[in-house]
Every structure is written in C-alpha cells, then in structure tokens.
Subunit: 162 residues, 6 copies
Amino acid sequence: MADFTHLNEQERARMVDISDKTDTLRTARARSGITVSEEAYARIEEGTNKKGSVLAVAQVAGITGAKKTSDWIPMCHPLMLSGVDIHFEWEQQEQDAYHLSITSEVKVKGNTGVEMEALTAATAAALTVYDMCKSTGKDMTIGPTYLLDKTGGKSGNYHRES
Amino acid sequence: MADFTHLNEQERARMVDISDKTDTLRTARARSGITVSEEAYARIEEGTNKKGSVLAVAQVAGITGAKKTSDWIPMCHPLMLSGVDIHFEWEQQEQDAYHLSITSEVKVKGNTGVEMEALTAATAAALTVYDMCKSTGKDMTIGPTYLLDKTGGKSGNYHRES
Amino acid sequence: MADFTHLNEQERARMVDISDKTDTLRTARARSGITVSEEAYARIEEGTNKKGSVLAVAQVAGITGAKKTSDWIPMCHPLMLSGVDIHFEWEQQEQDAYHLSITSEVKVKGNTGVEMEALTAATAAALTVYDMCKSTGKDMTIGPTYLLDKTGGKSGNYHRES
Amino acid sequence: MADFTHLNEQERARMVDISDKTDTLRTARARSGITVSEEAYARIEEGTNKKGSVLAVAQVAGITGAKKTSDWIPMCHPLMLSGVDIHFEWEQQEQDAYHLSITSEVKVKGNTGVEMEALTAATAAALTVYDMCKSTGKDMTIGPTYLLDKTGGKSGNYHRES
Amino acid sequence: MADFTHLNEQERARMVDISDKTDTLRTARARSGITVSEEAYARIEEGTNKKGSVLAVAQVAGITGAKKTSDWIPMCHPLMLSGVDIHFEWEQQEQDAYHLSITSEVKVKGNTGVEMEALTAATAAALTVYDMCKSTGKDMTIGPTYLLDKTGGKSGNYHRES
Amino acid sequence: MADFTHLNEQERARMVDISDKTDTLRTARARSGITVSEEAYARIEEGTNKKGSVLAVAQVAGITGAKKTSDWIPMCHPLMLSGVDIHFEWEQQEQDAYHLSITSEVKVKGNTGVEMEALTAATAAALTVYDMCKSTGKDMTIGPTYLLDKTGGKSGNYHRES
C-alpha cells in the first residue's frame, strides 16, 4: 500500500484560520438596489402589492439574511452579529423606472470583519423585493451591489470612492 | 371583552396560495456577475487565491444557494428542484478590470416557477467570489443581476430583451 | 461475535411511513396568542416599539416558521406548503391587559396534513411578538395554542368545539 | 435624479445593536405545557405511542430548538448557548385531562439574555408532544408559555410572580 | 469587450437534471456503526451517561439528519421523505470492545433514490453516539458505513453482497 | 391537582453546561475515508465524473459540514470555528480498489473542543464523494472514521495510537 497521488494544491479550498486575530468592534455598510417599473413602485408605496408590505418583508429578509451569511457563503466564518440595520431610499431614474437603494449596516465584536454579512443583507433584501413584485413584470434589475465602508480589524478602515 | 382593533390590510404579508396551479416542467435562467481587479482575476485563473479555487467554490455556493431559496426569501414557496447548473465567463472590461459573468439555470417539475431560485443561485455565486477575493481589494462590484428567461407555467414564457 | 442486546422497543422513535397516503388538498388553521401590557399594546399600535413594526415582523416569522416546521419538530414530514396566511386581532381583556389573537392558515397538496405547520406558524408569530416587546416588561403570557380546524386526508375534517 | 421618498420610520425593523453590552453569565427559565387526553397520557407513559418515546423526542426538540432560536425569531441575536436542560412533570387536571408541564433552563456567557431561547425550547418541546400524540385526538391545548425567571445582564434579575 | 476565457470543463459541478425521471416508490437501507469501550457500552445500556439517553438521542439525530441530507451533500436533490426508521443492535467484538450496528431505512415517493439519505441517517446517528460518549474516552471508531440495498427507480434494485 | 409522575432520570438528555470552562485555543484532527472502484477513482482523477469535480465539491462539503455540526448533533454546543481545512490522499489497496483518505483539521478559540466538528467535516466530505460517484457503482464503503488528535482544554491533549 503506497501513497501515490498528491492533490493539486490549486484545487484546495479552506476556511482560513483567524484564531490569532483579535476581538474588536467591527462594522460594515453595503449597498444594493433594485430598479422597478412604475407599477411596481406604485404598488409598493400604496401598499397594494398582493403578497403584502414589500419593504417590511424585505427588511426582515435582509436582517435574517445577515445572520445566515456563513451558511450561504462556504468559506465565511460564523459570527455572532451584534446589530443589523437596513435602510431604503427611492430614486426616480427615468420617466417610468424607479430605483430602490438598499443600505445595510452590520456590527460585530469579533475577530473577523462583517463585509460579507453587510453585502448579503442588502442582497437578500433586494431579492425579496424582486420576489414580491415579480407578478407586475420580470424586467427588474438588481444591483449594483458593493461595500460602502468598513471599520475595525487589522486591515484598517475602508471607504469606497464612489 | 370586545374586538376593537382591525389590522391595516396594507400591513399584511402572505405566502400566496398556489394549490390550484398545475405541476409542469418549469425552467429559469438568471445572470449576475462581479467586476474584479486584475490581481483578483489573475489569482482566480492561476489558482493562487489563498482561500482556494474560487470558481469551484462559487459554483457549489450557487447550487446550494438555489436549494435554500425559500429559506432566504420569506414569501417564496419551497420547491424540490430537479436540476441546477452554473456557468462562468470572463469579459475584460477595461485595462485593469475584469467582469465575471455568472449564468444560472434551474429546473423543476412543480406548481410555481423557479425565477427566484435562478436569481438566488447566481447571486450566491457572486457573493462567494467576493468573499474569496476580498483580501486583494474591496472595490469589487456585484451585478447587475436579472432574469434572462423562464419557461412553463400559466404566465407563459419570458425572455428578457437585452 | 454474537448479538446479545435487543433495544427496548419503547425507546424507538420513527418518522412514520406515509408513502401509501394519497396526495390531496389539505388545510389547517391554528390559533395562538399573547397577552401584553398596555404599554406594549400602545407601542405596537403606535409603531413606537424600538425594534420596529411588531406585527409585520411577527407575520413574516409565522410564515417562515411554517416552512421550517419539519426542521423543528423531529418526527414531522417535510412538505411543500402551497400557502400560508397569518391574521391578528386584538381583544381587551382587563383594564390594562391586551390579548393579541393570532390565527394561521396553511394549505398543501400532499400526502399528510398541515396541522403542525399551522400550530408552528402561530407559535412563531407569538414568540416574535414577545421578543420585540420584552423591553417593556417580561410578564407577557403566550397561548393557549390549539388547532381550530383541518380539512382533507383520510382522517377527515376536524373542527374544534370551543 | 432626486430622492423623493422617505420611508415611514414606523415601518422600520432592526436587530438592535448590543455591541456595548458586556459578556456576563446569563440564565433564563421558561415554562410551557400541553394538556392531553387520558389516552395520549397513557400511551406516553406506557411507551405505546406509535411514533415512539414522546418525551425523549420532545426533550431533544427543545434543546435543538433553543440552539435555533435566532433562526426562528427574526430580530433575535445569535448566541452560543453554554447549556440547555428540559424537565417534564405531569399534573392531573380533571378526571380525563392531563397537563404536561415543561420547564426549560438555558445558560450563556454573552452580551444579551436567553429569555427567547428558554421560551423557544419549552415551546418546541410542547409542539413535538402535540405532533407525536395527534393521532389519538387533536383537542390538545399548548400553553400557557411564559418566562419563569432570568439572571444576569444590565436589566437585572427577573422572577415572575405567579 | 471580448470573451477570452473558457472555464475548464473539469472544474464544473452541477446538480444533475432529474426532471425526466418518474415518481415511484423508492427505498434504501444503509448501515453504519461505532465501536466503543466497555465503559461507554455500560453507560449506554445502564442509562448513566451524563449527557442522557444515548440511543434515544442518536435515533432522533438519524431521522432529522435524513431530512437534512440535501443541505449537507451539495449536489444532492431535495426530497420529501415519506418515512425514516433507525435500528440499533449491539455486537460484542472482543473482551472489552463493543460494536453498535446502526441500520437506517428510508422511503420516498419521488424521482430520485434515497441512498444518500439512508447513509446520512446512519452516519448522523453514529456521530451522535460518539458525541454523547466521548467523555469516557476518544478511541471510538465509526464505520464501516455502506449501502445495504435499494429498490425502485430506473437503475433497478441493488443488494450489497457482504 | 397533584404532581404524580416523576420522569425516569435515565430518559433525560441535556446539552451539558460549559459556562465555567475557559476560552482557549482548541484544535482537532479527524480522519475518514472511502474505498471506491477503479472506475470511480479514474473518473475523479481525470475529472470525467458527470456531477463534476468530486474532490473540490467534497472539500466544500467538509468545510460547510463543520460549521453545521451543532445543527446535526443534537447535544453539541454551537461554536464559532476559526478555521477548517480538509486534505485528501489516495492509497491503492488492491488491484481494483482505491481508498481516499480524508483528513480534517478544525480550530476554535472557545470553551469546548472541536472533536465533533472535525469528525463531521471528514464524514461530510466522504458522503459527498459517495454521492458524486454512486452512478459508477454503489459498492463503496465509507470509514473508518476516528479522531486523530486534539489539543487544548481541561481534558488535555489526545493523540490516537494507531
């Protein structure tokens, strides 16, 4: 019996070791969004969507999504989030297109950052808006989704230049 | 003891009843993507990313994400997906920016469509690429994310006009 | 080598075989509730609870709870629910105690009933109300929780005599 | 392009920030229960329930339920529980009705309390008893469910006056 | 802008399409096991294990594990299991080593087999025995784990030759 | 109304209290494996398995499995793992049987060990290999699965004597 195969190191994936990183307060804010039709916009604002109150449900989806991030992103470390907040803001883009800007804010006291949790929260909220509005048309577009800023941790602060 | 409050109907959310819809073959394809730096692109293609093989992990994340869609999107019906496939394609955008186009394809025999599962699969793959590459810079942008097409069901086929 | 121990049959638990039951439309309605203080009631109705819109979040919790029933109740069969709906109604009980009555309604086309899903939905909504209001006092009481009625399946219809 | 809509602040839900709360030992005990028929009671005690050993399964459901609390209650913080224990006690109520009293006890070293985990544990155990006994009749009633006491944290100790 | 990279087809993973397979009754039985010390054996049989009734908990873990198979095995299709049963049998191996044989049996009416569900159920039960007994020594060995037989589906019946 | 039944203490299961254990760095390594046919071996190594790159997917399954351990093993404490790594190595056993040895390595800073996480990671990887290769024959055998070593914690270090 002899070892005769050595796996290609390129094929390796790992959840990298963070046990020597220190517990500090870390925050991250991310942004996503969704562009919807005038009809979808009106139903959201008037509360006449047949699946219910779109933004209330999307907000819950964003918060619960943040908590499930390490279940969705395979190499992401589990974290005990200390706070999650989701904000919405409408922007009219053209005559008949409306963009819902979604901003998430996540905090943790832990030894790795919460960038992925913030991105996942904003994304889950956007997907939920799509789901609740898709009976009015499937031409909606989600994104762009990106990190706004982060604080804490050895890599220091980050602020996206828009 | 008297009832005296009636909840505002606007506030209601529900998982709408689909019990009278028929079981048919349904498919959906969605697209997401992520724009990364030249360094991130090179590490992905050369297999030198420290967290491992980025696209292999992202593909698994997309497939498992599709299966968890009804856990992520509150008003989404649970479905027993019969197939999920994820494709990647690189497009050079500028001198030093590379866009990874992510296409998901989902099938089911069931009584509601799989648009959300396709969108979720593509999104989970994109978020996973972000996670695995973020040590090379956090300026990546995810999206746009949208439905390419769907077939089956009472509402008929849909094909996005690009 | 000899077999010498036979497990006590009493200790056995199983997810009973339902493969010979037929797929039919099945419904169930359950009720739970929570008795809260006047302050908690006022904050819910005025929308001044610091954790947010209590009933909107509780409704989402009830619906997502119904979908997770087989993950919570060990011997419960997984089911693809076709619809879930949650209703709230306030009843004043005494000068300073308010009871929120929570009614869930669940539908499925499947080979086992949805009684547990209805009970779980109503319960998850009640627990969520407790969570969101507990900063105003922990004396709230949840329940009673019971099945209102069910239809479909071999065991026939059930309607609770109040 | 101008911002023109401002979401109603009432509609906001958030997982409140607890990052400035200190890690201390916290405990909570909660009680739920279920009233069952004489037949159900007899089958539980004699171990002749067709789904298996009711209280053994309910105890596991209570413990695993406690660990999943932040997945069930949307605004609940994830916590690494350090201990969960579930106790059962029968009380005869009338000639042919038996009440199973379910007491849960949860401990954590963390920066928020475990009241919801204790309530969820007791509730999950009660729902499991219902599930395993429902073939003997659906007239069972779950509850009342309430917090018995808690210790630790800034808000101090709580002990319910019965 | 030009496509210039084509992913290596070898790197592809997919949840293969089973939408053209027919719904039939399918069963599978698998076996795992664990070899434990005399002390662990005695504590299990005498009910003196400090974590509780080992086999009762392991049985629940096996059943709930079967239901979560598609969450654990990335390319596994979600299935609505119609029945799961777990059996234990002790075999004395040597003077001071005891082997607990664990047999799982899973049924489904569906369009793909339940081999993985049966293997996962038996495995989850074995891991749970390890967890509950590990304070008495960590030299336990799990396995071998294999499929005993399967019925139903296009690939026909299988029976392992021992 | 009188208490008249006292549950058999033997039947009790609990998630034992670890709140007085100290947070230290803890590691564990476990081993599992799977014996496959020459055809399965060849398809894995040549990348011609129809479900995709077997070892890449198995590695992801092992890592995500480690993170879900407390969801799979009922009395297992939730832990925030700081690192997970999975290694594969082939050993030829006979002319036409190949054994894939799977070694997992898990780290945590916490108040209980990660033996179960390491065992679960190795097992999930082995089950995933079975799933992806089972179309080439179902005679594969998983195991033996055991703990290689652990460090940290009050019970001290452990190293299995092979």
